[in-house]
Amino acid sequence: MHPAYSVIFFTTSSGAGYGLLFLLAILGALGLLPAERWFGLAGFAIALGLISGGLLSSTFHLGHPERSWRAFSQWRSSWLSREGVLAVFTYVPSGVLAIGWIYFETTSSVWNLMAWLTAFFSVATVYSTAMIYASLKTIPQWHNGLVPPVFLFLALATGAVLLNFLMLAFGIWQAWAVMIAIAALLAALALKLKYWAFLNTRSREHTVESATGLKQFGNVRPLDPPHTAPNYLNKEMGYAIARRHSERLRRHVLTLCFITPALLLALILVLPGMFGLFAAGAAVIASATGVVIERWLLFADAEHVVNLYYGREAI
């Protein structure tokens, strides 16, 4: 699949935003984070900023952005519609929670309920983003049970790295924050390794013979193309990355998205304070770069069955 930059930016940016929002809400509700004005302001501004920036960018690739309100109507059947509806729902409890945290400096009573609702809707929104891809039977690399947990844990991990940076910046950092981030990074890493192993070993069950129904004559191969220049299908779905490039990029994801942030965060345990802040900042940059490459690769590795009509033998 052709990696569309607006979608890559949207899923990674909103993923990190929802990850941070989820952690703020849960840790705030549990009283582990101080209900302090400036920390709250920075936290919610970054989380909601990343989410809103992502949502906005996802409308850039639409043919008719002015009609996007219509996308809220088909939540009965469409994961894309559900994602839109849930994203809007999330603004309500998170907005109320932000007011309590920033204005009244409290996360108890009604704000506590709002915090749990925020956490729930954050998870639900990221899950429905993932399901847009995981529900497509036409793309075997996406249509499997590993895609939703990969999205969820990457959102949590990138959000947790951001949280560490914020806590250090406000001088309220505690060791458990690093533990949470490292645990989330390791969980995401394990899922991603499992996903790549699945890609390497899965059987290619859709064939050109099944696509044309001509198996009875023997092996099928294209003779004349239907058109002489690439059409929309070739441009949108014909993108294929060479195996060796894919493997090289997987190594970059491994180092940037997982290993570097985990090591940098572990360093904070030894050297908090000013150095820790720099380490956390570097971890944020590494994980952001890594997750963008990861998302790019998720598209580049994905093969659409329509390519069976354009020369691929099996997908």
Partner: protein, 252 residues
């Protein structure tokens, strides 16, 4: 509404006979001509006479080779929307612009409500949906919904443009939900089949397989029994050997 109708009254669709299609592209051209002025209008072409011409066509004609030797075939293969009974292209649509009609099963895109998110084209296994860059909406085969019910046309012309245009009669149109219709009978008789059946989209359109031909082998002789003069003709002369040598030297 993008939830699917529980059942459709009719199942209108096409039956494509791969045995007689000659790959002339007349159906595709006729489709483009009708539909660029019909329900899906316009079908905008970009750089139409330049180096990178592109734009939506609702029907594409592939040619494949299948098998080898005397049993091998060239098969011309028209590909368009199959008006599936369980089309994910409809259920993924966030706006309701994509829908399946309950009365006849035709799958349509409403060009006035489509936001051009392209997700439906990702959900179609058959590459039946092409995005119109200038119009900003998705285009697909309408089964010529604006012909088949059109009282302004003579009755004989109330069929899809592709079916009208096909010079060999390789395309048939009818109700595949009615077991007594001509199309249903021909599908039964010729063992018409679904494309990519394992995906479960249950296409309404069917393809009729190319017939296996009887090959007359009575004149063929095993290689050892070839008349001697044939080999003599094929033995290279000194001049041919020289040119062969020169060719090898120059191309190395």
């Amino acid at each position: 509404m993008t939830t699917l109708p529980p059942a459709t009254g009719k199942k209108l669709g096409l039956v494509i006979d791969l045995d007689i299609c000659v790959g002339c592209h007349a159906c595709a051209v006729s489709c483009k001509e009708w539909n660029t002025g019909g329900y899906s209008a316009p079908l905008s072409d970009i750089d139409a006479y330049g180096n990178d011409p592109h734009g939506p066509w609702l029907n594409r004609i592939h040619s494949f080779e299948a098998g080898d030797g005397t049993g091998g075939r060239t098969v011309h293969f028209p590909r368009s929307c199959l008006h599936c009974e369980e089309p994910d292209c409809v259920t993924v649509c966030p706006t309701g612009a994509s829908y399946k009609r309950s009365e006849d099963g035709i799958v349509l895109v409403n060009p006035d409500t489509c936001i051009g998110c392209k997700l439906c084209s990702w959900a179609c296994p058959y590459g039946a949906r092409e995005y119109d860059q200038s119009h900003g909406v998705m285009k697909k085969c309408t089964l010529c919904v604006d012909r088949i019910y059109n009282d302004n046309l003579p009755e004989a012309d109330r069929v899809p443009a592709c079916v009208m245009a096909c010079p060999t009669g390789a395309r048939h149109f009818g109700d595949l939900g009615d077991p007594d219709s001509i199309v249903s009978k021909v599908v039964k008789e010729r063992e018409g089949y679904d494309l990519l059946p394992e995906l479960g989209y249950r296409p309404v359109n069917k393809y009729l397989p190319p017939r296996t031909r009887e090959v007359d082998r009575s004149h063929a002789k095993p290689a050892g029994e070839r008349p001697a003069q044939i080999d003599a003709v094929h033995a290279p002369t000194a001049v041919e050997k020289f040119f062969g040598w020169a060719d090898r030297m120059l191309s190395d």
